[in-house]
C-alpha cells in the first residue's frame, strides 16, 4: 500500500468495519532502507548496548538478593557443621519461616510501593510517606502475630505432617527463637521500600 491509498483510506468516512490501522503501513519506505553491512553493524551495536544495560542493571539486584538470602544460608551452613540432625532442623525451620513469616516481609511491603510512589509524586506533603511507613510498621506487625502463633504451635503440626519427633520438636523451638528476629526482617524491608520510594538508590 503506497501513501496515496493510505491517504484515500483516511479520507473515506469510517464505518463499523473499517480497520483502525491501514494494512502494511510499516513497510520501509525508500529513505529508510539501509545497506546490508550497515544493518549488521547497527544490529550488533544495539545488541551490545542492550546487553551492557541489562548486565549493569541486574548486578546490583543480584548482589542485593544474594546478600539478603545469605543471612539464613550462612546460618544453616554454620550450624550444620554440628551434626546432620542440626543441619536438617535448621534447613527445615528456615524453609518454614520463608513460606510464612518472610512472605509478610517480601509480599506485604509491596503495599508501600503502591501507596508511596503515588504519595511521593502526587502529594504536596512529603511527610505523607513517613505516615505510610508508620502504617506499614503497625499493620505488618499485626499480620506477623498469627504467623508467630503458628510457629509456637508448630510441633504438633510438623508431627501431623509426618516429620520425625526430634525434628518436629527442634524445628518448633528454632522458630520460637527466630520469632523476634522475623519482625526485624519485616521492618528492614519496610525501611528499604521507604528509601526506594524517595529514589535513594545512589
Amino acid at each position: 500500500m503506497d501513501n496515496k491509498s493510505v491517504l484515500s483510506l483516511l479520507r473515506s468516512s469510517p464505518a463499523e468495519q473499517t480497520a483502525l490501522l491501514p494494512k502494511d503501513i510499516d513497510e520501509p519506505t525508500e529513505g529508510e532502507v539501509l545497506e546490508e553491512d550497515d544493518t549488521l553493524h547497527t544490529r550488533a551495536r544495539i545488541i551490545g548496548k542492550e546487553l551492557s544495560t541489562l548486565v549493569k542493571g541486574s548486578i546490583p539486584i543480584i548482589l542485593a538478593y544474594t546478600l539478603q538470602n545469605s543471612l539464613q544460608t550462612v546460618s544453616v551452613l554454620v550450624v550444620g557443621r554440628q551434626s546432620p540432625e542440626a543441619l536438617a532442623t535448621a534447613a527445615f525451620a528456615y524453609m518454614f519461616a520463608m513460606a510464612s513469616g518472610w512472605l509478610i516481609a517480601l509480599g506485604g511491603t509491596t503495599a508501600i510501593d503502591t501507596l508511596a510512589s503515588a504519595s511521593f509524586t502526587g502529594s504536596k506533603n512529603p511527610q505523607d510517606l513517613g505516615v505510610i511507613l508508620q502504617r506499614a510498621f503497625v499493620i505488618l506487625g499485626l499480620f506477623y502475630v498469627p504467623v508467630v502463633g503458628l510457629w509456637f504451635a508448630s510441633e504438633p503440626l510438623f508431627k501431623t505432617l509426618g516429620q520425625e519427633a526430634y525434628l518436629a520438636r527442634d524445628a518448633s523451638r528454632f522458630l520460637m527463637v527466630l520469632a523476634p528476629g522475623g519482625l526485624g526482617y519485616i521492618y528492614f524491608e519496610c525501611m528499604k521500600k521507604y528509601l526506594q520510594a524517595q529514589g535513594k538508590m545512589a
Binding site: 542485593a64 550450624v79 511527610q127 528476629g181 528509601l195
Partner: protein, 105 residues
C-alpha cells in the same frame, strides 16, 4: 547501589561471625543460630534507620502521628494481596510444596 545493599555488606559477614560465636564459642548449640540471625536482621534494620537519619531520606519522616492508625483498611488489603502474590511465586520457585514438608529426613 542501594542503601539496603550497603547495610547487608556489613551485616552479612557479621551474621556469619555471630552464628559461629553463638553456636560453638558460647556453646548455645542449635538455638544459637536463630538467635544470631535474628540479631543480624534487627541490626540491618537499625543501620538502615541510621542511614535515613544521618545520610539521606530523613526529610520524609515527620515523627510518629495518630494518622498512621487511620486508613488502614486500604493498606491491609494491598498488603494481603502482596503476600498472596509473593506466596504463589515462591511456592513454585523453591519447591516448598508437599515434597519438602511431608518427606522424612
Amino acid at each position: 547501589m542501594r542503601p539496603g545493599t550497603y547495610v547487608l555488606l556489613i551485616t552479612s559477614p557479621l551474621n556469619g561471625l555471630l552464628n559461629y560465636l553463638f553456636v560453638y564459642t558460647f556453646k548455645i548449640g542449635l538455638l544459637g543460630a536463630p538467635l544470631a540471625t535474628g540479631i543480624s536482621y534487627w541490626l540491618s534494620f537499625i543501620l538502615l534507620v541510621l542511614y535515613a537519619r544521618f545520610v539521606a531520606g530523613g526529610e520524609c519522616w515527620g515523627g510518629w502521628t495518630r494518622k498512621c492508625l487511620s486508613n488502614s483498611k486500604t493498606f491491609a488489603q494491598l498488603a494481603f494481596l502482596g503476600v498472596l502474590h509473593i506466596g504463589k511465586g515462591s511456592l513454585r520457585k523453591t519447591n516448598l510444596t508437599g515434597a519438602n514438608l511431608f518427606s522424612r529426613h
